[in-house]
């Protein structure tokens, strides 16, 4: 993940720009741009540890020192705003020497645990060492030893020896989580990171400290020793944990997800995501429906589709009014569009309901109360027909529903299954990802891919249509919802000839105003992190 330009560094009107000479070449930057960002934007490659584009600049690591003409001493570029006619040198012998010496300081007592350090392969210290130093240690004495494996919070383990005292983690707690859990203690060689008196690192954004830590001092208990970073393949996607829709990368290897990390999007989540969202990957492969089920038996797709179509057709032939569909706020816009097209346009279904996870806690940092990633999309695609689960319960009790087609098993039964007398239905077809009581009650179950196995888009609470990408192969025989629905449609006499998610997306975009202007994005080839540079 490359450091993105700070928000506001986009080209601005000429009056607000300054001209700075970096290594002999004049460049124009907006006023107020930080000198480090400016240099790196034009390819000067100034190294740094403590600076983070999403945090304040304390200038403690002294790694980004550059020469500015007229200044008696080298200046920390992360702490200096650009000024007109500034002349900066980032590659003089003196600057390189200082850079090397600063690295040597940082490495003086560093334990060099790389073989067992989770950060190895994506460690900023490793990268800078190879880029700028590459020398053997000149340390004669015994290294200062500090505590290793310190449990400082629910999700996090600290290795004080590896810490290079950059204070990024402290700033994340202070500035992002607004929970000052971490502090520095002692001085000089013995300075250590530790928890603030009486606190532990337990805020809902604590794992961001692991991401920002340029070294392996903070490690996630969940990811610890699970997989070497260089083996992981990053797939850009969107967190399915709540309506905020934080942009993430899914880090997977050999068809297993190992972690989710935030991806920069200044308009949504900036550099961060919540801890809860990070663990949404855990359920991806849990209690999955891996094969179509018909009448309680695992069957072939063809058989299940035939049974589902026959069941629906029997009711449809009597009257489309007896058929209802349930849209899920967990499904992608593409799946929802395919269902809407089948149910509303082809079959003439009138009754539509929306289901999803229950509301939960929220804060005003990132987390939304709505725990579904695509409520906005489901509401927009369902349109005026959509009714609530309470209405579904009422219709079921009244017996006005004879057949029900459900896309997504999540939350349909609500808190009390007794309110949903499903046994009154002739036909219950569920497109489901995970097993639950609804799936057990269904006549036909069609297995769906999980979000991490699907290509598609989610609409977050701000109305932004964001792309998710498949990071894993589908579990078992599962298919994406739009594909399963296309097969079903063909058996119901409707023509829905979708062969790719992109086709569905394009059709949906042309149809639904809320998707107008959305972009499917380019195909992204899987890249192993070992080829993607340091993430620190």
């Amino acid at each position: 993940m490359a450091e993105s330009p700070v928000p506001g560094s986009a080209p601005a009107p000429a009056a607000d720009t300054v001209t700075v000479t970096v290594d002999g070449h004049a460049h124009t930057f907006p006023k107020g741009t930080n000198l480090l960002e400016a240099c790196n934007q034009v390819g000067a490659n100034v190294p740094f540890f403590c600076y983070h584009a999403g945090l304040s600049s304390p200038a403690v690591c002294r790694q980004c020192l550059v020469d500015v003409k007229g200044q008696p001493k080298p200046v920390p570029s992360c702490y200096t705003p650009v000024a007109d006619k500034m002349e900066v040198t980032t590659n003089s012998a003196k600057v390189l020497d200082i850079r090397r010496q600063m690295l040597e300081f940082t490495l003086l007592n560093h334990p060099i645990d790389c073989p067992i350090c989770d950060k190895a392969g994506e460690c900023t210290l490793q990268k800078h060492y190879f880029d700028w130093d590459g020398k053997f240690s000149r340390n004669d004495g015994i290294k200062v030893h500090k505590d290793k494996v310190v449990d400082i919070g629910k999700h996090i383990v600290l290795d004080q020896e590896r810490c290079i005292l950059c204070t990024r983690c402290i700033r994340v707690c202070d500035e992002v989580a607004k929970s000052p859990d971490l502090v520095m203690a002692n001085r000089g060689d013995h300075e250590v990171l530790t928890t603030a008196p009486g606190r532990s690192l337990d805020n809902p954004y604590s794992l961001n400290t692991v991401d920002v830590c340029p070294v392996g001092a903070l490690t996630s208990k969940d990811f610890r020793f699970a997989m070497r970073a260089w083996e992981l393949v990053a797939t850009p996607s969107v967190c399915p944990g709540c309506a905020t829709g934080c942009n993430i990368e899914v880090h997977a290897s050999r068809d297993t997800v190992y972690r989710l990390v935030p991806r920069i999007n200044p308009a949504v989540n900036k550099h961060w995501m919540c801890d809860e969202g990070r663990f949404t990957y855990k359920t991806v492969r849990q209690s999955r429906v891996v094969a179509p089920i018909s009448g309680g038996q695992a069957v072939e797709w063809d058989r299940a589709l035939d049974d589902a179509a026959a069941g629906l057709k029997a009711v449809l032939d009597r009257s489309p009014l007896g058929v209802g569909v349930v849209l899920s706020a967990q499904s992608t816009n593409e799946d929802l569009h395919a269902l809407a097209r089948l149910a509303f346009d082809h079959l003439g279904v009138q009754k539509a309901y929306v289901a999803g996870k229950d509301e939960g806690w929220h804060d005003d940092i990132l987390v939304s109360a709505d725990k579904n990633p695509n409520t906005a999309g489901a509401k927009a695609i369902g349109g005026g027909r959509l009714r609530s689960l309470a209405d579904l319960s009422r219709d079921l009790k009244a017996g006005s529903l004879v057949a029900l087609l459900v896309l997504g098993e999540e939350g349909v039964l609500g808190a009390d299954p007794a309110t949903m007398p499903l046994d009154k239905l002739d036909t219950l077809v569920v497109l489901a990802c995970h097993h639950n009581d609804l799936v057990d009650a269904a006549k036909v179950v069609l297995p769906l891919t999980a979000w991490a196995e699907s290509d598609g888009t989610f609409t977050n609470k701000l109305g932004m249509v964001q792309r998710i990408r498949a990071a894993l192969a589908p579990a078992g025989d599962s298919l994406p919802g739009w594909e399963a629905l296309s097969h079903l449609a063909r058996r119901l006499g409707a023509t829905m000839e979708f062969t790719t998610a992109k086709q569905v997306f394009i059709e949906a975009r042309d149809k639904h105003p809320f998707m107008r202007g959305a972009d499917w994005g380019r195909p992204i080839l899987p890249v192993q992190l070992r080829f993607a540079n340091s993430r620190g």
């Binding site: 073989p115 067992i116 190895a120 053997f136 240690s137 290294k143 020793f225 070497r228």
Partner: protein, 224 residues
């Protein structure tokens, strides 16, 4: 895009280009040998000196010092496995035949070690990259043994205990060149990557059974 084709003129006369005379000549050579040995075999006085066959297992060829044999896992001074589950070897292994599941230890000294360490000797292509990649001198291929034939595939997957059973204590400093390298004045910091006191093939690390005895005199060392 035109593919560049370079036509190489074949040298030689028509006779050479026809191959047939050369083929006949070659077959003449093999036929002569056949007749000579056939007659020798039948009459029972075949010239034994030009037989190149090594009659394994009665005779064995002497392996070179750097022969890559069955893997083994080296031990720490206290007999624990030296491997720190750094995953370098499975990363570099071109055959994907090393499976390691790391674990944390309660032992304060060792943070990470392999809970499971398996090498599938059937998949191994004996490239030696694992031993090359190991930063801890934990995995070696210097046993001088072949992977044993087995009746079941599963038996060819060697587990940690099996691999450790061949291991010996390594004299390399755990962790490589550490802070104390100047305590060994004879080792100069040349700036080259080498371990302080026990490079990979240093005499003191080579186990007794394959101590090199100089180059073998002939290709065959007859067994007693």
């Amino acid at each position: 895009m035109a593919v560049g084709v370079k036509v190489v003129a074949r040298p030689g006369s028509l006779k050479q280009q026809m191959y047939l005379p050369a083929i006949a000549e070659g077959m003449g050579v093999t036929f002569r040998h056949f007749i000579k040995n056939f007659v020798g075999n039948v009459t029972g006085n075949r010239d034994k000196t030009d037989i190149v066959t090594i009659e394994y297992p009665e005779q064995k060829k002497k392996y070179p010092e750097r022969f890559r044999g069955l893997h083994r896992l080296m031990l720490r001074d206290d007999g624990q496995v030296r491997c720190v589950a750094c995953m370098m070897c499975p990363t570099v292994c071109p055959a994907h035949c090393i499976t390691i599941v790391p674990e944390e230890t309660a032992d304060g000294r060792i943070e990470k070690r392999p809970k499971l360490f398996e090498i599938d000797e059937l998949r191994c292509v004996v490239c030696g990259l694992c031993a090359e990649a190991c930063p801890c001198d934990a995995i070696r291929m210097d046993t001088g043994e072949h992977a044993k034939p087995t009746y079941r595939r599963a038996d060819a997957v060697l587990d940690k205990e099996e691999l450790m059973s061949r291991g010996i204590k390594s004299v390399a400093v755990q962790g490589g060149v550490g802070a104390f390298w100047r305590e060994k004045p004879e080792v100069a910091n040349t700036g080259q990557v080498q371990s302080a006191n026990g490079s990979r093939s240093g005499a003191d690390t080579v186990p007794a059974q394959i101590v090199p005895e100089g180059p073998p005199a002939g290709p065959v060392v007859a067994a007693k």
